[in-house]
Amino acid sequence: MLSISELTKTFEVRKTAFSIKKHVISALDKVSFFVEKGETLGVVGESGSGKSTLARCILMLEVPDSGTITFAGADLMDLTHNQLRTYRKRMQIIFQDPYSSLNPRHTVYYTIAEPILFHHIAPKEETRKRVIEIFKNVGLDEDFMNKYPHEMSGGQRQRVAIGRALATNPALLIADEPVSSLDVSIQAQIINLFMDIKEQYAITMIFISHDLNIVRFVSDNIIVMYGGKILEMGTKEEVLNHPLHPYTQMLMNASQGKFSHYKGQDIIDISGCLYYPRCQRRKAVCKNSVPPLTGDKDHMVACFKE
């Protein structure tokens, strides 16, 4: 369904606003994976790990430096702008903050109807019927139809954002931290909604979050990212029951509320494993050489330990 190979994206950053010298930050470093049709891939990592850049690159909202993105048989990087538009119809994204991703001047009805009209998904006279159907599927009351985003709660707004994403009947749905700005009691509602959508629409999903607990609920496979690299990937059962990378293990402890202690060292120039400065079990070899991603297709890890 979706296959990513050696995807690399770097950003050039000036150290201060006036410096001439630029720093190159590698947001994605040779990231490769694939997602089968109907599967959900969970992507876990801290802020700055490249999760969101990955999402933006898959949708070609950000043009990768190198690598290939194959979606439904086509290499997205070879497509022209117009061709890409027909593909975008089939790939949708949901962002973290539903308040800033919804247009405050559009009613909820128009927010969901807009992609239907724009992509000619349904004949004009059937638009209303489609919108009502989506309202039902995302658990919104029809009374909300003429409301504006500011009149709704965070959970309701996120339902609208999900509804808008589903309006084009996408084959791939990317959810970038869709519940982290919501309250606990609402988080559970939205996660349940994602599970329903998964069953009902047989959709392929990429679910991005910094919280392993949340990813665990919706995913079939899990990728753990750090500093633009994949440190560990595999089936949900393998990664969660036998986490191999020290970073994954630390994330698991943290998500259970157990505290970890590490002596933080700010080493910026690392020639070896990116996690070296924080690793509890680092060895001499980790400092100067980068561990490759090894293992079988059910479970791969980039660590010299194993």
């Binding site: 609920f217 994330l251 259970q256």
Partner: protein
């Protein structure tokens, strides 16, 4: 549980605290009849969703409620004095000294144009009689206590040169600068990554235990409270709905809202296919229902809940709930 004479002299005793906002001739009660005691050296977890009144409770204790809000009634007895009624000058001597606060957003609570060392030193200048040299020494010691190795180098840095976790550690250093007897931490880790979060929490816990400082820890994250606190209060729509020990709360929560919260925690150890979610959403202060504020979302709602607000039902000495299910 053994309690060395602490129960007789609580450090902080909040009684019937009510804070309201007066807007266009209507009254919005952000904090309503809150009762709470905190003992010396105790870490207390105050949990609630956004808009439940957690932060307003904290600001009311420090008398920092922004207008048009004000404390309508109630007492905040701290070390024998009622903070609601002491003169503003006296209150200034307590803030940052005896009671200090750590805010959620470390970037907005630090001044971007001053060196971080000077910002910590300012607190000591205000509240102590130390000489300039002593203050500098103490500031460096504080930086080391919150885990900075090269404290002298940090002293001259500016907030933008630090990461989120480092900034939060600076705020912690500022909070403990005067050896307070109470620290109020308002979602101190919410803006941070999971890994940094657990570091900050263990640092806070160690510092509190070391100096027997009490902490009122405000959060919406129940997993955090489980590790950190001994007692917990659940807030909803400005009220504390349940007060319980952390152990009992997670095994046998009393209030239907608490039950819903515990069931909707997404934990690694549980394996259901679906989560049990609480239906509906948190009501706005302007649209609070009559009777029990939770009744429209409650699975156990009875007729009486719709018209009358349940009073506090004491279960044991340190455990109570506001719910009609426990009346009789």
């Amino acid at each position: 549980m053994t309690e060395e004479n602490t129960s007789t002299h609580p450090l902080l005793n909040i009684d019937d605290l009510t804070t309201s906002f007066f807007i266009d001739s209507s009254i919005f009660r952000a904090v309503d009849s809150v009762n709470l005691t905190l003992h010396r050296g105790e870490i207390f977890g105050l949990v609630g969703e956004s808009g439940s009144g957690k932060t307003m409770t904290a600001l009311s204790i420090l008398r920092l409620v922004p207008p048009p809000g004000r404390i309508e009634r109630g007492k905040v007895i701290f070390e024998g004095r009622d903070l609601v009624r002491i003169p503003a000058k006296e209150m200034q001597k307590i803030r940052g000294n005896k009671i200090s606060m750590i805010f959620q957003e470390p970037m907005t609570s630090l001044n971007p144009v001053f060196k971080i060392g000077d910002q910590i030193a300012e607190i000591l200048e205000t509240h102590t009689e130390f000489s300039k040299k002593e203050i500098k020494e103490r500031t460096i010691e504080l930086l080391m206590r919150v885990g900075f190795n090269e404290a002298e180098k940090r002293y001259i840095q500016y907030p933008h040169q630090l990461s989120g976790g480092q900034r939060q550690r600076i705020l912690i250093a500022m909070a403990i600068a005067c050896n307070p007897s109470l620290v109020i931490a308002d979602e101190p880790t919410t803006a941070l990554d999971v890994a940094t979060q657990s570091l900050i929490l263990s640092l806070l816990q160690n510092l509190m235990v070391e100096h027997r400082t009490a902490m009122l820890f405000i959060t919406h994250n129940l997993n955090v409270i489980k590790q950190l606190a001994r007692r917990i209060g659940i807030m909803y729509a400005g009220r504390i709905m349940e007060l319980n020990s952390v152990n009992d709360f997670f095994t046998d929560p009393l209030h239907p809202y608490s039950k819903g919260l515990v069931e909707s925690i997404i934990g690694l150890e549980r394996n259901e296919r679906r989560l049990k979610a609480i239906p509906g959403s948190v009501p706005r202060l302007s649209e609070l229902p009559r009777g029990c504020k939770f009744h429209p979302r409650c699975a156990f709602v009875m007729e009486i809940c719709k018209t009358r607000e349940p009073p506090v039902t004491q279960i044991t000495n340190e455990k109570w709930v506001r719910c009609y299910l426990y009346r009789n």
